[in-house]
């Protein structure tokens, strides 16, 4: 058993109102740069709908994720290593910018520069790819709120799996929103597709990242990811993806998308899992068994054997404590209401979802019944097989049973809590009908409905002492790094890799202690930090002073 820690997320779809605040704040934080105009690390899709990029879930077309070969072993659906290298010059499975959308801006200057005329000038759209005037015909969220659904929704790859007859009545029945980020999979097919080895899974917290210095732009990760959550920056020629806001979570803050979520529907926590068993679990023959297989890889953080094994792997105590308090573990195991997105891709995704119950209640109320009565609700869940079939295609590879069980639990919670709200006596039988206790239902209600900040986000901080062990406390000489001493690379002063912070500090301190002039201390050896220079004039220290030359 090799215990590893993984940061994971659960989203409660019942509470998503489709406001796109997560997408917008994420974009402002991460992808508001040239080359990433079309890149949405976080996007919110209306289901049924085509998704982003269009029909990305159709793996017969895009070949993302893994499949089993004839011998029952895992192989990349887009082909093995040799096939990848032979198709490297032109990747036949890469989405074009048209499959996303051609980003645009508006010719705002025209509003000011247009000459006096009878008609109000109009800011016309211009493509950000070509700079030419363009006609906007698609975007990241063109089918938001079922816009154009009669034409567009039939192309939903998930909907096509559910039968035609279902489709029509289903469209009238409901829609819901599906916010998506990178799944930070346990068995990531993007990492496995990267020819240069630039993509990696962080061993401390399982965040999947792209090393921008090693990425060579071979584009295989875009193909490999079945969720199409690795994007190609068309200006830099490098892959970029959701970072799980690692600079934030390292200091214990939730991701930007979670922090700004209006509906408070996102939960972040640690999961312990057995890395040795991931491949085995991802190779289970029956797709419908993959949900249970993934659960079986995750370990119980309360189990003394697991705790001992985790300690042996060097997982810090506070991380183990966070794993025990993890809302993710509670939602997946104790309450059993979270399900993975498309387990059939065999990547072991780590962003899970609580399927929406609301449409069921609404539909039931419309028919004149009491939509929150336990008996009515249980009956309706079984009667309304249409949404269950669709949800099952999303979350359990088509197996309706786990989805039904989750919906029954959510329905039971509503009925149970309504009785309490109306001042009636708690009805333990409602909880018992779904295999829970009244106490458990109330605890689940607290986590799902009240969702206190500190319980939604249980994020252990990165360990400062691990960094310090490499930095200040290193037993080597502080000058024996590459290029030192003298801090000059082969191309003169300030060339070569940046000096370690400890060395910069050392020199600054020495200047202050031994220098003639106290002002010189913060001049950092006669140089200026170009990151803070606005490009105007020549600030003192931009060029080093010659020895003995009087400073101005």
């Amino acid at each position: 058993m090799k215990v590893m820690a993984q940061l994971a997320m659960v989203m409660n779809l019942d509470k998503c109102i489709g406001c796109h605040t997560c997408s917008v704040t994420c974009k402002q934080a991460w992808t508001n740069r040239a080359g990433t105009e079309y890149v949405w690390f976080n996007n919110v899709e209306t289901r049924p709908g085509q998704g982003y990029p269009r029909t990305y879930q159709d793996q017969e077309k895009w070949k993302g994720g893994w499949e089993l070969n004839a011998r029952g072993r895992l192989k990349l659906k887009a082909g093995g290593r040799l096939k990848k290298l032979f198709s490297i010059f032109a990747n036949p499975l890469m989405p074009s910018i048209q499959d996303y959308y051609e980003p645009w801006t508006y010719d705002y200057d025209r509003l000011f520069s247009a000459p006096m005329q009878a008609d109000t000038p109009v800011a016309r759209p211009r493509s950000l790819i070509t700079g030419e005037p363009t006609k906007i015909s698609w975007s990241a969220n063109w089918d938001d709120n079922l816009a154009g659904a009669p034409e567009l929704a039939p192309s939903d790859p998930v909907l096509r799996k559910v039968s035609d007859q279902v489709t029509l009545s289903f469209e009238q029945a409901f829609m819901f929103y599906l916010p998506r980020i990178c799944e930070h999979c346990l068995n990531p097919s993007c990492v496995s597709s990267c020819p240069s080895g630039a993509m990696y899974k962080r061993s401390e917290d399982g965040i999947v990242l792209v090393d921008q210095d090693r990425c060579r732009g071979w584009r295989m990760c875009v193909t490999g990811c079945p969720y199409k959550k690795v994007y190609f920056n068309h200006r830099t020629g490098k892959a970029e993806k959701c970072t799980f806001c690692f600079p934030r979570v390292e200091v214990g803050l939730p991701t930007v998308c979670s922090e700004t979520c209006v509906g408070r529907l996102r939960y972040i926590g640690i999961i312990l899992y057995d890395a040795d068993r991931v491949t085995e679990a991802a190779s289970v023959a029956d797709e419908k068994a993959l949900y249970e297989a993934q659960k079986s890889v995750m370990l119980d953080p309360h189990d003394p054997a697991v705790i001992a094994a985790a300690r042996a792997e060097g997982i810090p105590e506070d991380w183990l404590e966070a794993a025990r308090r993890s809302p993710i573990h509670q939602l997946i195991f104790e309450y059993g209401v979270a399900l993975p997105l498309h387990p059939e891709y065999r990547t072991m995704p780590m962003v899970w979802y609580i399927p929406p119950l609301s449409p069921v209640v609404d539909v039931l109320t419309e028919t004149g019944h009491d939509g929150e009565d336990a008996g009515n609700l249980f009956g309706a869940i079984d009667a309304l097989r249409i949404p269950i079939g669709y949800l099952a295609e999303l979350f359990t590879a088509g197996d309706p049973e786990p989805v039904r069980a989750v919906l029954r639990r959510l329905a039971a919670m509503r009925s149970y809590m309504r009785r309490l709200n109306l001042g009636q006596k708690a009805d333990e039988s409602i909880a018992a009908a779904v295999g829970m206790t009244g106490e458990g239902v109330e605890a689940m209600h607290r986590l799902l409905a009240l969702a206190p900040y500190a319980e939604r986000y249980v994020i252990p901080k990165a360990h400062a002492e691990q960094g310090a062990q490499l930095e200040e406390l290193a037993t080597g000489c502080s000058l024996d790094y590459e290029g030192g001493p003298g801090m000059g690379g082969p191309f003169g002063e300030a060339s070569g890799r940046p000096a370690p912070i400890a060395v910069e500090n050392f020199h600054a301190l020495r200047e202050r202690q031994a220098g003639d002039d106290i002002d010189k201390a913060h001049q950092l050896r006669g140089r200026v930090n170009l990151l803070n220079w606005d490009g105007k004039g020549t600030p003192d220290g931009l060029f080093p002073n010659g020895n003995g030359k009087k400073e101005s």
Binding site: R81, K84, L85, F89, A90, P92, M94, S96, I97, I129, T130, E132, N187, P188, V191, S192, P195, S196, G197, Y200, K201, R202, S203, E204, D205, D211, D213, R214, C215, R216, G217, W218, R219, F232, H234, T236, G237, K238, E250, G314, P316, E317, A462, H463, Q466, G467, Q469, L470, E471, A474, T475, G476, Y481, G489, G496, R497, A499, P500, I501, A502
Partner: protein, 251 residues
């Protein structure tokens, strides 16, 4: 021996090779972020799917041909029982096919680059220079082969150009060998030297990081967070601190 010969066939190759090697070292140290193919497939893939494999597989065969022709001495192939006639036939047939494929490929790619709006917008001046020198080198090389073998009676470059090429790496350059070669071969060699000199500063650097390691590495790559911490460095071998793990385990 004329001074010009020394400049062209001794000085120029060493300058080009020095720039090639040091340029790559410099680029790798200072511009890892810029070390990429800068693929334009997102913008256009229909022409790319024909042109790019045609060019790349063509140039790989051309590269192998150059290694076989320039690096392996004639005496070796003869010792292996390959006569000059057989070698010549194979080299000309394979070389011409690969050369035409390469030329066709780069023609499609340049046409695509010029005519497809987004691709042309993403083309830098550096790219244009690189395309010009690369295309020139390919055209001259193909022309030299065609002129010497198909129009002319054949030219055994393995007694002149190849020894000159190897003499550079022995540090005993012999410009006289090259001075007597046909003009087209000379021009091809010169344009190749120019290509090597600009190579490290163009997108061609992607060739040096061809991902052959992918064939042997495990699928999923794990990396520790600490490797990338700003200013951090690994302790020297033998100087790893003790108790780094036990420290927080005992807390």
């Amino acid at each position: 021996m004329k001074a010009l010969d020394v400049v062209l066939w001794v000085v120029a190759p060493y300058v080009a090779l020095t720039v090639f090697v040091l340029g790559h070292v410099w680029r790798y140290r200072y511009d890892k972020f810029g070390w990429t193919t800068r693929s334009s497939q997102m913008y256009e893939s229909r022409l790319l799917r024909i042109g790019s494999p045609l060019f790349h597989f063509g140039i790989l065969v051309v590269l192998l041909g150059h290694i076989g022709g320039l690096v392996i001495p004639k005496s070796w192939t003869e010792a292996a029982g390959i006569s000059e006639e057989v070698y010549h036939l194979v080299a000309v047939v394979l070389g011409t096919i690969a050369g035409v494929a390469t030329l066709g490929g780069i023609a499609i790619l340049i046409y695509r680059r010029r005519t497809v709006g987004p691709v042309f917008t993403a083309t830098t001046r550096n790219d244009k220079l690189m395309y010009a020198v690369l295309a020139l080198t390919i055209v001259l090389g193909l022309a030299a082969t065609v002129m010497a073998n198909i129009v002319g009676g054949g030219y055994d470059y393995r007694t002149t150009i190849s020894p000159w090429f190897r003499s550079i790496f022995y540090f005993q350059p012999d410009p006289a060998l090259m001075a007597g070669a046909p003009l087209l071969f000379q021009l091809h060699a010169l344009s190749a030297l120019l290509l090597f000199a600009i190579w490290p500063f163009t997108r061609l650097v992607h060739m040096l990081t061809a991902p052959v390691g992918y064939l042997t590495r495990p699928y999923v790559v794990y990396r520790s967070r600490d490797e990338q911490r700003a200013g951090a460095r690994d302790p020297r071998r033998g100087w790893e601190p003790t108790g780094a793990v036990t420290e927080h385990r005992s807390k």
